[in-house]
Structures are given as C-alpha cells and as structure tokens.
C-alpha cells in the first residue's frame, strides 16, 4: 500500500469500465426518479460513528485538535435516518463509504455505496424493489436466471446441512470438521455469532447466487444490526442480504425505530469492543434523539456499487472497477 513505481499513475480499470460505471449510476438515478424517491447528500465526515464490533473506522481531528474527533462514515445510515425522522419521505443516496482494514479481492477501504429508504415499506416490498432495480441494471450486460429467495435458515440447511438456530457449539464444530475446516473450533470458541459468520462465509455464501441474484432473509437475532425483531418469531430479525455469484452485494433491514432497543444494541456493541480491546466510539446521540422524535416505519438497503459493477461484468476483483484502488490512490 506504499508508494510504488512512477508508472503506477495509470487507472487500474479500463476506459470502458469508467463508461459502464457512469451508465450504471445514470440508470440507478433514473430508477429512483421514476419512483419519486428523493436524492440526498449527507456528510462523509461526522462527529458520531457506528459501534459495530467488527467495523474499523478512519478518524481524523478537526484543526489537529484531538478533542475535535471526526470520523469518515462507514455508511450514511445514521444521517439518512435523521432525515427520515425529519419527514423527508423516501430517500436515496449514492456516496462514498470508508472501512478501515478492509482490503482484498472484494474490498477496498473506500468504496461507493447506494443506500435507500422507503417509508411505508416492509421487508417484502423492499426485496421486490431491490430485485427490480438489480434486474433492470443487469439487463444490458448479463443474462441472469430469475432471482432466488431463501431464508437464512434455509440457506444454511441446504448448503451446510446445519440448523443455525438450534445448533449447539458441538454441532458447529462437527459441521466445520465435516467440511474440512479443522481450525474452526479455535476461531469460533463459544461465540455463536463468530461461528455463524465463519460457517456462513466459508460454506454457505460461496454457493449463493450462481448466475442469479439470491436474497437471503430472516437472520438470527444474534446478528441484528439495525433490523427489527420479527413480530412472530423473536429468534429472528427482519434483515435481508443479496448475493451474486457468491459475492455479497447488499444488506437491508426493516428498520429498527425503537430508541431503547437501539441504545441497548449500542451498549452491547460497546461492551464487545471493550472485551476485544478495540477503540470505543461514543454512542451517536443525534441518532438516538431522532429515533425518540420518531422514525417512520420504513425499510432500507445499502448496495455496494463497485461490487455490482464487478458482478455484472464478471470481473475478478474490485480493483478492476475502480480508477484508483488504495494501492495507487
């Protein structure tokens, strides 16, 4: 990631890919214009940040003063929810998001996110609209099979032969060693969330969305993020992820709008960060105030635009979609 040879000034993607990116952005904007969803902009640099135990944030100090800490957003979700609480109605945004320490074939620490919120939508309507958008933008470049819909539990049962809700720690370990992941027991330990992340990302995800979009919904409540509990089954939350060719494109929720539960999740995240010895950010008080004022019932999703471009054009790595990935930024 250091400075390289002087010949590195050239972009890592082709001119054709720059045109395809522009075309993709144009189509997305047209899609939302037709549906009368308002385009908004929120700050990339903010006083508050997320508490997610597994996200690492870039930070800086205004005027070099350490007490004036500012964070590069990992997603515009908090700011957009403040807009929703202020009564904007349905909104969307195409912006940069930043995640420290995420760098690899499918990750660049700076990436482009499409995020939108639909007031009055539940998870079903959100999935339907996401599918319509994804199929519309894919038409010209890839001939995909009809989208597939499954539950988190169903995907796990099909591809890992394990029930993620009922499984005990021994079942997780058995499943891992059956699939040749001998080292898993040491990684997973007694942490169910890590076990689920490990088995999902190694065994389930690579088999999802072969030449089609696959929507996986109803996540276990121990992976809640900002989703509401399912009203008829408290073991689950109203969360959806969408995949193409084993690659995750997006994550959406029927949005939690209970300020007390939101604060409980912040506190739980912060405790987890303390345990892991990671830096602990302050809870975003402005988001909590917005939730207290009242977030309308809504569903929202974030889609990685670079990955979508990667998948639609069957590329090997995210760097092929970017003018200047981190290595040459």
């Amino acid at each position: 990631m250091s400075n390289r040879a002087p010949s590195d000034w050239r972009p890592s993607c082709s001119p054709a890919m720059l045109r395809r990116r522009a075309e993709l952005l144009r189509k997305i904007r047209q899609f939302f214009a037709e549906r009368e969803v308002l385009e908004v902009e929120t700050p990339l640099l903010s006083h508050g940040t997320v508490t997610d135990p597994h996200l690492s944030v870039f930070s800086t100090a205004y005027g070099g003063d350490p007490s004036q800490r500012l964070y590069l957003q990992t997603s515009p979700e908090f700011a957009m929810k403040r807009l929703l609480a202020a009564g904007t109605g349905s909104i969307y945004q195409i912006c940069k998001a930043f995640r420290n320490e995420e760098y690899g074939r499918f990750h660049n620490p700076e990436f482009t996110l499409l995020e939108w919120y639909r007031v009055g939508f539940g998870l079903d309507e959100l999935i339907e609209e996401t599918d319509a958008l994804l199929r519309m933008v894919s038409q010209a470049t890839r001939n995909l099979a009809p989208s597939e819909h499954t539950s988190y539990r169903g995907a796990f049962l099909t591809h890992a032969g394990l029930d993620p809700l009922d499984a005990g720690l021994e079942d997780f370990a058995d499943c891992a060693s059956r699939h040749g992941l001998q080292e898993a027991a040491e990684i997973g330990g007694a942490d169910r969330a890590i076990w689920l992340d490990l088995l999902f990302s190694h065994l389930v995800q690579p088999r999802l969305g072969r030449n089609r979009f696959t929507f996986v919904r109803d996540f276990p409540a121990i992976l809640p993020s900002l989703a509401r509990f399912k009203s008829n089954d408290e073991r689950l939350v109203e969360r959806v992820e969408v995949f193409l060719d084993g690659m995750e494109l997006g994550n959406g929720f029927f949005e939690l709008n209970d300020p007390l539960e939101q604060e409980r999740r912040f506190d739980r995240d912060i405790a987890a960060r303390l345990d892991a010895g990671r830096p602990v950010p302050e809870k975003d008080g402005r988001l909590l105030e917005a939730l207290q004022a009242g977030l309308p019932d809504c569903a929202g999703i974030a889609i990685g635009v670079d990955r979508l471009l990667l998948g639609l054009n069957r590329l090997e790595a995210i760097a092929e979609t970017l003018a200047f990935p981190l290595a040459t930024a």
Binding site: H54, E101, Y103, I187, S201, L223
Partner: protein, 188 residues
C-alpha cells in the same frame, strides 16, 4: 521473535505454522457484511512441500520464520550429505537428502545453487536454472539427422536422464534447463 498480523500477509512471506516454516502462497480477505473478518490463507510447508489451506481471524498473528535464501557453491557429496560453501565467507553447510530433493540429479561440483536456510539449517536446494553436463551413455544416433523428432534418452554424468536429439552423442556436453528437465543445446 517477530510476529506478523493477517493484514501484513503477502505472497512469499515466511511464517511458522504448526512448528514448521511455511511460505504464504495466497491470502484472501473474507468478510461477511458487518460480521467478523477472516483471512483464507494458502501456505506451503517448507519441510514437506505440502500445500495447506487455513483460515485466520483477521488481526490474528503468526510468528515469522527465520528463513533466508543464500547463494552457495556445491562442493561434493560424501555419500550421505551434500556439502556447500558460501563463496565470500567460505562458510560451509551440509544438506541431507531430504533438503536436496530433486536437485540432486543436477548438482555439479562448483555450480552456484540457492540454499534455503531455516535457523541456519539447509531446508531446500535450488539448482541453477541451466546446467552443463556430460553425456555418459546414449544410443548412437543416425549421423546427419537434425529433425530431432522425439529424440532419445541420454544418461548424464550426474545420473539424470534427459531426452536429446538423435545427433547428440556420448561424451558430448549439453545444456539442460533444470526447471523443466529439458535439453536446450549442445555446448561446444
């Protein structure tokens, strides 16, 4: 002891894995949405040559392996060990059959090889890319045949057997590519 974290993993890095030195062949960052990040890593055990796939939690560390490549001159084989010398320092090293491996059939005295040392003990021997060796035995070919179609086996003074064109005769010196085991040319 030095440790490296998963974010510093890169191809060619030498680390300790299960008590053996290993080289990283490939490291892929895997992260489910907002969940725990992992690194899927492919490594080659430098003692056994076996390729291993292993998952680490991102942020985990491995001890680096004290493995270095040193150019040395091959001296002689005493029937059990192969002896090498660093030309600048005259320091000598003895490699066993396991470390010499396939290289043994290409080793000619005074040739410069690359020895991989782990804790100062030879772990592997890489012969020069090209060696010049003498043919000690091959069938007499038809004189004037330069088409080479298929060629014939020839035994070299180190014991290696390579296919050579029909016109090449016993007693001649030939150049061989040790990476492919193929005949390159005659040496005048």
């Amino acid at each position: 002891m030095a440790f490296v974290s998963t974010s510093e993993f890169k191809n060619g890095l030498k680390v300790m894995l299960d008590g053996d030195p290993a080289t990283i062949l490939e490291s892929e960052f895997v992260k489910p949405g907002k969940g725990q990040a992992f690194n899927r890593v492919k490594l080659r055990n430098l003692k056994t040559g076996r390729v291993i796939e292993r998952t680490f939690k991102s942020g985990d560390t491995l001890e680096t392996a004290d493995v270095v490549d040193v150019e040395m001159q091959y001296l002689y084989n005493d029937g059990e060990l192969w002896h090498f010398m660093v030309p600048e320092s005259f320091e000598q090293y003895a490699a066993d059959s396991n470390a010499v491996g396939d290289a043994k059939k290409w080793l000619k005295e005074q040739d410069i090889c690359i020895l991989t040392l782990f804790n100062n003990i030879p772990l592997a021997v890489q012969p020069p890319n090209f060696v010049e060796l003498t043919i000690v035995e091959t069938d007499p070919g038809v004189r004037g045949d330069t088409s080479g179609g298929g060629g014939k086996p020839a035994t070299l003074d180190t014991g290696a057997v390579v296919r050579v064109p029909l016109f090449v005769q016993t007693g001649e010196v030939i150049k061989v590519d040790t990476r492919t085991g193929e005949y390159v040319s005659r040496v005048k």
